[in-house]
């Protein structure tokens, strides 16, 4: 029994963190370059373009690597967004912490000052929050932006009445082009402008104005918004806490001066702002929201008091091999079946069918969880009559009888379906679909009145749902996979709270990325709507953090924030009294992390081609912000002027208006906290203890630096 204690690993942990994080540098910002990860042993390769997938594919066996992986997974599991930021900041701040160590700052001080600094930043950026209010006010009138949904592809067999919303994706899609390792195609935020204006146009159409006047209004609005903004008295305020503390009052004041500046009340604008260079994914999310909203309206008889955007009722169906343009959003459940069901579906197509929902497998051997089947039971026959039928056949017949008895034509099962049963059912014009997700079953249970059962043979009339329509969507010849022809069907009922997003991609390797990106967009919108607030995006928040830390570093410690981390603020340790000495150094290092973040963001969005250009631009803004007396007002001002990447002064001379970029609040702040927590955790670790009973004898060379107990 031996335990190996590895000492003196103080700095290697931080170094490991920064080198892991370096691999994900290109994922920051709206333009993400993909990476190929190649397994040298089995020559398999994966195409990835997110921090989560990157870490999944990397071999992170070291303890620090595992902690990093755990942090990224936790962020992804909780928020599904912010992982690239997290990964980047882990790298930036571990270098910062290392720098402080080199300068001789005590570890405990690095921990408490960095913690305090980030906390102070988090409080500071509250002033930038943009409230999101009554975004659904216009949603009913927009009819899922018909202005954009051009013509339906005539080659698609879309049965009338299925309510499919099919879009032709004529807009430039950054996401689909990011395969190139190095893409410098200019501003990715350019294309959604059309998207936004169109949506606004429709939104206002409802107010019984003629399109002509509206167009004029729109133009006027865009023009004077800027002037109102720059001269608004609210921007010259230096005491921003005053209006933060009284948001109600602020809104009142603002509504007189510049109503659309500090709040976002247009869903389409919010969506564009949160698309982060991926308009095609966000468009699908937008359609899903509108479908859910319509449904909610139907279910509650027109009264949509509080409509929560429910991502648990969105389901993605990936169809690799199809062109991108076929991606769409439909109410109900879309799934892929083998071509052999084609005739059956045709027959079921024109009638409402009755449905049974099975919560487990639909096989003879299936027993519910927790049931132990005894193995020592043998059935004997008393009579000489030979029993021909196996128990499997008996069971199949039994199930079939039940289905016939209750006149059920559709069975949806959570688990696997016995092949024999499926065949027999097809023969008797009954469709059985297996591997149906839990949320889908739940949606059908709600909409059709069915009750999920574990054993179909135990069901009664109460368990049967009704009114489900089964229609073909289109055939998918997926010879790329196994050469078997497949088809897709749409299952739905009146008012079902379920939306299927069909994701297509001609490149199979990109399918995963596409699905990930869709969910990232959906999560961003979900949190923006849930929290009813967003941050201005494009680096505005990070710039404020940078300015704030720089000014904190300049302040004397007495004036500084007392909200230190953990113990230092009410401790009597000498560290508390000598904190003033080291504080500026530590805060500056933390600020350097933000600086690296901003300049990488600028480089990645191809605004600047060199680090020095980016640095000059950041420096210029920092100076201006400091000179203005109120950095947050300055930043909001710049943000409103430029609307896009805040530091993007290079494009401000072009008159083309650019839509705002927004970012989610809590997931972003949590990503910051997680990043710093991880860095500080590793910083405070001084040894690694390898546990377990492994008797591996280390050679004398290997065991150097190990301690045995």
């Amino acid at each position: 029994m031996d335990c190996r204690v590895i000492n003196k690993r103080r700095h290697t942990g931080l170094q490991q963190l920064s080198s892991f994080a370096e691999t994900g540098r290109t994922f920051l910002g709206p333009v993400k370059s993909s990476k190929f990860i190649i397994d040298e042993e089995c020559h398999e390769s994966v195409l990835i373009s997110s921090a989560v997938r990157l870490l999944e594919s990397l071999d992170l066996t070291s303890a620090v690597g595992q902690l990093l992986s755990e942090a990224i997974q936790a962020q992804n599991k909780t928020y599904r967004t912010g992982t690239s930021t997290l990964l980047f900041l882990v790298g930036a701040w571990s270098s910062a912490a290392e720098e402080c160590l080199h300068l001789g700052v005590p570890i405990s001080l690095i921990v408490s000052v960095m913690s305090e600094g980030l906390n102070s930043c988090i409080e500071e950026v509250e002033s930038l929050q943009v409230p999101v209010h009554s975004v659904y006010d216009h949603i009913d009138s927009t009819e899922t932006f018909s202005g954009l949904s051009v013509s339906l592809d005539p080659s698609l067999h879309i049965p009338s009445g299925t309510g499919l919303v099919q879009k032709e994706h004529d807009l430039k899609d950054v996401a689909s082009q990011s395969l190139a390792f190095c893409r410098l195609s200019g501003r990715p935020v350019k294309s959604p402008q059309l998207f936004r204006l169109q949506a606004r146009f429709e939104a206002d159409e409802n107010t019984s104005q003629t399109p002509q006047t509206l167009k004029n209004n729109l133009l006027a609005d865009t023009c004077c918004r800027k002037s109102v903004l720059t001269h608004s008295r609210h921007f010259s305020r230096t005491d921003r806490h005053q209006w933060i503390s009284k948001p109600g009052e602020l809104l009142e004041q603002l509504s007189a001066a510049a109503p659309k500046t500090y709040r976002c009340s247009d869903l389409a604008e919010l969506e564009v702002g949160l698309s982060h260079g991926d308009p095609s994914s966000m468009r699908l999310v937008a359609e899903a929201v509108r479908l859910q909203h319509q449904n909610a309206g139907m279910r509650r008889g027109g009264h949509t008091v509080l409509f929560p955007f429910d991502i648990s009722r969105i389901f993605t169906c990936c169809l690799p091999g199809l062109p991108d343009s076929l991606s769409c959003v439909c109410p109900g459940y879309i799934t892929v079946l083998s071509m052999s069901s084609a005739t059956l579906i045709k027959e079921l197509q024109n009638q409402p069918v009755r449905v049974v929902l099975v919560e487990g497998d639909l096989t003879e051997n299936y027993r519910h969880l927790g049931f132990n089947k005894p193995t020592n039971i043998k059935t004997v026959s008393e009579s000489v009559k030979v029993q021909q039928d196996s128990s499997e056949e008996l069971w199949t017949d039994h199930v079939l009888q039940v289905l016939i008895k209750f006149n059920v034509n559709l069975v949806l099962a959570r688990g696997n379906v016995s092949e024999g049963l499926a065949e027999k059912c097809t023969d008797s014009k009954r469709l059985v679909i297996g591997s149906v997700p839990e949320s889908v079953l739940q949606a059908f249970a709600e909409a059709s009145g069915a009750v999920q059962v574990a054993y179909i043979t135990h069901m009664n009339e109460n368990c049967v749902g009704s009114g489900v329509s089964v229609t073909t969507w289109r055939s998918v010849t997926s010879d790329t996979v196994d050469g078997i022809s497949r088809m897709t069907v749409v299952l739905k009922t009146e008012g079902i709270n379920l939306v299927t997003v069909v994701l297509t991609s001609p490149v199979t390797a990109q399918m995963q990325t596409k699905e990930d990106r869709f969910w990232t967009c959906a999560s961003r919108l979900y949190y923006a709507l849930k929290e009813q607030k967003v941050f201005p995006g494009g680096g505005a928040v990070e710039l404020l953090c940078l300015t704030h830390l720089q000014s904190l570093a300049g302040q004397s410690v007495n004036k500084g924030n007392q909200d230190c981390s953990g113990w230092l603020h009410n401790t009597s340790s000498w560290l508390a009294s000598s904190a003033a000495l080291y504080r500026p150094t530590v805060l500056k290092s933390l600020a350097d992390g933000w600086h690296r973040y901003l300049s990488t963001l600028l480089r990645n969005t191809a605004v600047y081609s060199s680090d020095s250009e980016a640095a000059t631009s950041i420096q210029c803004h920092l100076q201006n912000a400091a000179d203005s007396g109120s950095p947050s007002s300055y930043i909001l001002n710049e943000y409103s002027k430029l609307n896009s990447v805040i530091l993007n002064s290079g494009i401000s001379d072009k008159l083309e208006p650019i839509p705002r970029v927004y970012d989610v609040v809590t997931p972003k702040i949590e990503a910051w906290r997680r990043a710093l927590d991880l860095v500080l955790l590793v910083l405070q670790t001084d040894s690694e203890i390898i546990t377990g009973l492994a008797h591996t004898q280390k050679s004398s060379q290997e065991s150097e630096g190990f301690l045995f107990l």
Binding site: C3, P106, I377, K378, V380, Q442, E670, S687, I689, T691
Partner: protein, 531 residues
Amino acid sequence: MSRLEAKKPSICRREPLTGERAGARLAALRGLLTSCYGPAGRLKQLHNGRGGPVAATSHSAALLAGLPVSHPVLKVLTAAVRNHVACFSDGGLFTAILCCNLVENVQRLGLTPTTVIRLNKHLLSLCTRYLKSEVCACRIPVDFGSTQILLSLVRSILTSKPACMLIAKEIDHISTLILKAFLLTIPENAQEHIILGKSIIVPLKGQRVIDSAVLPGILIEVSEVQLMKILPIKKSDSFKVAVFCVSLSGDLSDTGEGTLLVSYGVSLENAALDQLFNLGKQLVSDHVDLVLCQKVIHPSLKQFLRTHQIIAVDRIGVSLMEPLSKVTATVCSLLLCNRNDTAWDELKLTCQTALHALQLTVKEPYVLLGGGCTETHLVAYIRHKTRNEPESVLRDERCSQTELQLITEAFCSALESLAGSLEHDGGEVLTDGKYGHFWSVQANLPSAVNWPDLPSRCGCGLYSSQEELSWSFLRSAHHPFPPQTCLSHEAKGSANTLTLDCFTAKLSGLQVAVETASLILDLSCVIEDTN
């Protein structure tokens, strides 16, 4: 096939402590534990080196559980400490470090074990008698009429574990929750014998710490599907609950060995299910509203109950069964959130420690001053006592004056090193000549008595440097002085930001440390089985 092997002779090693190996390993363990001690302590990454989960911790329970020691002396030590932690949760590192210090200090002296053990025992009783006496100046009586002291105690425990990764706001939030959870476990109409209820910690990993909450009662996880069917519950009075600890999954009872022959057409499963339906009918006729089952309920029985408006919740788990039977008494659920698994695990351990410390405080309503002050104060007290009143000891314990001086010095310096272990960033520790408290200062200060930049408060936060105090370095030779005994009333009142320790846990830790050190010093040979 089992294989028998002839018993090999056991190995007998004499004087297990004297070898160089023992000394090095004990020093390594001490170094490891010392580096974890206190709020500025360093963390350890525990993992199995083969891709298992990684824990970053400075908690003695987690450390000692994952630390496989091979040397018998270390085994004795860690077993004793783990035992202490199992009983008191708090003070594991304190006990372990003090024990290491005592063994190392005393061993250097080369005195006979019997003398050492006798005198250590005497010094220990000197300490415990003082700590339990009314004149003791390093303990504060707990006023249950206010939350101040209790909150300070909880906060001190939370801040002592940096791997929880909490910021000040979060520490305040969690401290309040822990105190609330504790108060919820106190029965309302308390009679002579109070039986405290239970607080169940419910994990909510990945969420913000600030989203943690305390709820009275038991939190049971129910699937969303079920919940929508259950809510709203209209019946509020006389809500009948049936709790089952046996499985209702329709299993056949144990059929024993051999094969069971069943006639064709007979289904044992259906027979079992029929029995379950009979049970269901009984529940319906008894007007039961809620059926809870530790194990699985057959889905068809659940369906049956549901059609009769009975809520059925299964797979409650064994851990909830005991509190469930107390549900009418005092049970609360602490929903604990933290950002990731590692930090959550540490936070959970720390919260359990804090809850336990509060429970112990009910039994002995005192807290000890933390931040090293109790240790340095005790040292001043012991030094003064043995220097000024040695006669009785010398008579009772039959030892020489020199022996007494040596052992006292070893004992005191073990306590001082322990207090000094709170410093991890190269600072210096001073003690004052009036209260004998712990003061932390920057290193390399000129060695004058009155430094200009002295710390504003002592380690526990009770005294400020405003008054005229004289200071000396910890572990430096100085004249014994009588530390001021009996806490003043104003001191007791200013408990707002004090660093406090659990009285019962620390007292036991002190005893365990001294007794284990004596045991280790008394080891004369180790007999080990080789197979």
